[in-house]
Amino acid sequence: MIFEQIFNMINVGLVVLDKDLNVRHWNRWMELHSNIKAEDIIGSPIFSCFPNLDNPKFLRNCKSVFKFGNFSFFSQKLHRYLFPFKPDSTFGSEFNHMQQSCTMGPLRDESNVVSHIYLSVQDVTEIAAYERKLVERNMQDGLTGIYNRRFLDTKLQEEFSRHKRYNRPFSLIMCDIDLFKNVNDTYGHQCGDVVIKHIAALMGSVIRDTDFLARYGGEEFCCLLPEADFEIACSLAERLRQAIEQTEVTFDGQTLNITVSFGVAYMYDEVEHAEALLQMADDALYAAKKSGRNRVVAAP
């Protein structure tokens, strides 16, 4: 009597299946989330209401639990859910379905033979939403909202390997706000932040959807350009330079004109590692600074 109450009151979905995978028990949590009453599903194969479970992996794991009395785990990370239910909480708005972590385990009869299996279904939508936010934040620069250095380093390696494998074009732009120290010294660091945010947003609106713009350091940015050859990369850098030259940043009633210097590097066979490409762009940027700033210099 008490066990039956626990079965129905617990905030977890519980299902019991027999050897033929017919539903034997279906708790209240499952009723409420599936809109299927226990009396309507008990006795029917689980697949009659949930055809998505009729797949090799689910069947393989059922077999394993019946044979070995072990447990099977269906993590949210890969499976998202076993039972397609609507999300329950406000966190669910970003998911089409309730995110579930499910476990399958053995139930034995008097002679210790596994005669049934249970499935427990836990709603992990909230955790999945938090995790998604954390992953996003881990890739984002706090001030500008564009990608951060950590993301850039990983992505650079990925794109570099992709280039090596498929021999597709790949370019990279490094750029740095000209005389940024003067902005900070004259107008203060808050103004410096406004300038960095403004430039990041402007560049973000000019680059292609397939490019990755990241804040590399203080006032330095890096843009990865997959599938961009040397001409495309140089013309994009020039467009960025012009867009910034023509823009005005206002802070505290004052108007500032900002310029940026650019270094462009293009990937070719002799470039042996990703850091070398970055160094080439950095050297070109240094040359752009040396030769008077507000210009695009391409690596030789």
Binding site: F68, N70, F71
Partner: protein, 214 residues
């Protein structure tokens, strides 16, 4: 927790455990064929008692066939209590994915091939460990529950297994076997590491097991 050497399994007890595992693995192998549609050869297991701090070096020596490895860990909890480690050579995920024939398309667009390969390793580990440990405890008349398996080391050089993954200062009974999927180029090692906490019970259970034959 440290433990005196005399509390560890005796030579005879280790021999019984080895024999029992041999029977258990034979049964596991037969049943595995039904579950995953392929025959898994489980070699004659070896049993020995070691200090936990010596485990990384022991494992590294025992698996000298492969240089880059991944390790899956899963703990089992009953009176028979410990940690199972499954060691695969680098690249096994791809082979295992082919074995199951699961498709990337079945899992939505944001699931990468790498994630799917990892999942295949975890699923196979869960089933293999479940089968081997399940059959051993069945013979010892115990029941165990399992924690979810997790990949603790991914594509790591075998000679650099960090010792932090084990609880130091204790003795462990290590049961080691080599497994091989027939018709597939997949093989690896299974280590069952029973902590000293279960030694007392294990001694009794092994003696009870022997009584059936005496």
């Amino acid at each position: 927790m440290s433990i005196a050497a005399e509390q560890a399994l005796s030579r005879d007890e280790q021999d019984i455990l080895q024999e029992l595992m041999n029977i258990a693995f034979g049964r596991a192998s037969a049943d595995l064929a039904e579950v995953i549609d392929t025959y898994v050869v489980l070699n004659v297991p070896e049993v020995r008692t070691l200090k936990v701090v010596d485990l990384p070096e022991f494992i590294s020596t025992e698996i000298s066939d492969h240089d880059i490895i991944s390790i899956v860990e899963q703990s089992y909890l009953g009176r028979f209590k410990g940690v199972a480690l499954l060691i695969f050579p680098s690249g096994a995920g791809r082979e295992l994915l082919n074995l199951f024939g699961d498709n990337v398309e079945d899992y939505g667009e944001d699931v990468s091939m790498a994630a799917l390969e990892k999942e295949s390793i975890l699923e196979v580990s869960n089933i293999l460990i479940g089968a081997c440990v399940g059959k051993v405890v069945e013979l010892l008349d115990d029941e165990v529950s399992f924690s979810p398996p997790r990949i603790i080391i991914e594509d790591h050089p075998r000679n650099a297994i960090p010792c932090e993954i084990f609880e130091p200062n204790s003795l462990a009974t290590v049961m080691r076997t080599v497994f091989q999927f027939s018709d597939r180029n997949i093989s690896g090692y299974l280590f069952l590491i029973n902590s000293s906490e279960s030694f007392q019970w294990l001694k009794k259970a092994l003696n009870l097991f022997m009584e059936q034959y005496e």
